[in-house]
């Protein structure tokens, strides 16, 4: 579904992604972990070209990522993204946030789009907030609305860029529960996160990044029980000691 070959990315003189190879099969859930500044978010953002790759190739569902224009917009419609800071459209109600893409990009008639949107809001547990504005919702509710907005496009793959990092601790689980249920239903997901619990519960594979490289990749059980590299052992010892 997603195929990355020899991806490099520079921010000026900063070499943030170094020769990344990553293949994600349809229905697979890949969790990307690593210390901050290791390039995980940048990798995630390269996959729908919010960041342009410096070198290398990215294919989504067998098609190379278009450079720009309408072809790129079409591709992005098929690649959902959930942001750390939700990025819901502040001037629109939750319902209108969810229907904007389907009506404007997919050209679905408004009544049908609303119906689908309500079903999605029901599914993420905030149907009663449909006519509220984003600022009237808690962080956890906003992030679930953002997931509904991404799902409304019926994407082939969903990218999560630290979806729970901006949330109060008591709201993290309501978002993770939605993500776990999506994973169980066979959605292809690439999740950048610090939630090791989610990785254990839902990931098919954990990818560990450090200093712009993929250092280690494996099943969550193996990765957490017996990391093969010193860097991964060091990272895990720092975050799992509590």
């Amino acid at each position: 579904m997603v195929s990355v070959r020899g991806l490099h990315k520079w921010f000026g003189p900063l070499h943030v992604l170094k020769d990344i190879d990553l293949t994600v099969a349809a229905g697979e859930v890949v969790v990307v972990v690593g210390p901050s500044g290791s390039g995980k978010s940048t990798l995630c953002r390269c996959l729908n070209r919010l960041e342009t790759a410096g070198q290398g190739s990215i294919e989504i569902d067998g098609e190379p990522l278009p450079a720009e224009g309408r072809a790129l917009a079409r591709l992005r419609a098929d690649v959902g993204m959930v942001f750390q800071s939700f990025n819901l459209f502040g001037h629109k109600t939750v319902l209108d946030n969810v229907t904007l893409g389907p009506t404007r990009v997919r050209r679905i008639a408004r009544p049908e789009a609303r119906q689908q949107a309500m079903a999605l809001l029901e599914r993420v547990g905030i149907a009663d907030k449909a006519n509220h504005h984003p600022a009237q919702l808690s962080g956890g509710q906003q992030q679930r609305a953002a997931i509904a907005r991404a799902l409304a496009m019926q994407p082939k793959v969903l990218l999560f860029d630290e979806p729970t990092s901006a949330l109060d601790p008591e709201m993290v689980n309501e978002v993770l529960d939605v993500m776990v249920s999506l994973a169980k239903e066979g959605m292809t997901m690439i999740v950048v996160t610090h939630e090791m619990g989610f990785a254990r519960r839902a990931a098919d594979r954990v990818v560990f990044m450090d200093d712009g490289r993929i250092v280690e990749s494996g099943a969550p059980d193996e990765f957490f029980a017996a990391p093969r590299t010193e860097r991964a052992r060091d990272f895990l010892s720092k975050i799992l000691q509590h």
Partner: protein, 214 residues
């Protein structure tokens, strides 16, 4: 007072022309302002350069000079418009430059995450602008846009210099007959004030009605 009441229809025609000129020009300047502000944030360098050039040219020339140039110079190369149309075009083009800068400031208040989220659901650049960026950016600068509209109203009086009989010119004509400048121009001034107050009220109303829940 009699100097005014004796020429009510003449002054009334002038007032109507001023209102027409203001409305037509405001609409034109808003459209131009949105287009030019969009050019200034476009991803294509050439478009950005065109937007910048537009603003720099029309913000940095006096409106009166532009009006005179347009009305008296263009006919020498065979281009003529009716006087009202000429004045409307020039004022719209001129105020459009100021509105573009206000609108661009509004666009800059919209977080970069909004544009990213819009692109991430597959909206094109134009769609993101129309459905996500501009609705929020314009709301942020309703007040400065209102101020520019009031300045525009005042600037319509310069159309008198190229022969449009709007309120100032009508007052001038009446004064030539009555020779009572204090009464005549105070009356005209009060009419301008009233129009400006209306624009201010509409601005305030829009600002309250369209406020984004935060």
């Amino acid at each position: 007072m009699e100097a005014l009441t004796a020429h009510l229809s003449q002054l009334g025609h002038g007032l109507v022309t001023t209102v027409e000129l203001t409305v037509v020009t405001t609409v034109g300047a808003m459209l131009l302002g949105i287009v030019v502000a969009t050019l200034r944030i476009a991803p294509v360098p050439l478009l950005r350069a065109i937007g910048t050039a537009y603003v720099e040219v029309f913000q940095n020339l006096p409106l009166l000079a532009l009006l005179v140039l347009f009305v008296f110079a263009l006919p020498t190369i065979g281009i003529t418009f009716p006087l009202f149309t000429s004045a409307a075009i020039v004022i719209a083009v001129y105020e459009g430059a100021y509105l573009a800068e206000a609108i661009r400031a509004g666009i800059n208040t919209v977080g970069v995450g909004q544009a990213e989220a819009a692109r991430a659901i597959g909206l094109t650049f134009g769609q993101s602008l129309r459905h996500v960026i501009l609705p929020q950016g314009l709301r942020a600068v309703i007040q400065p846009i209102g101020n520019i509209c009031i300045a525009l109203l005042m600037n319509t009086s310069l159309a008198a210099a190229v022969g449009v009989v709007e309120l100032t010119q009508a007052a001038n004509n009446v004064n030539l007959v009555e020779a009572q400048p204090i009464a005549v121009f105070t009356g005209a001034g009060l009419a301008y004030m009233l129009l400006a107050l209306i624009i201010g009220q509409v601005t305030g109303l829009l600002e309250r009605r369209l406020a984004i829940v935060r």
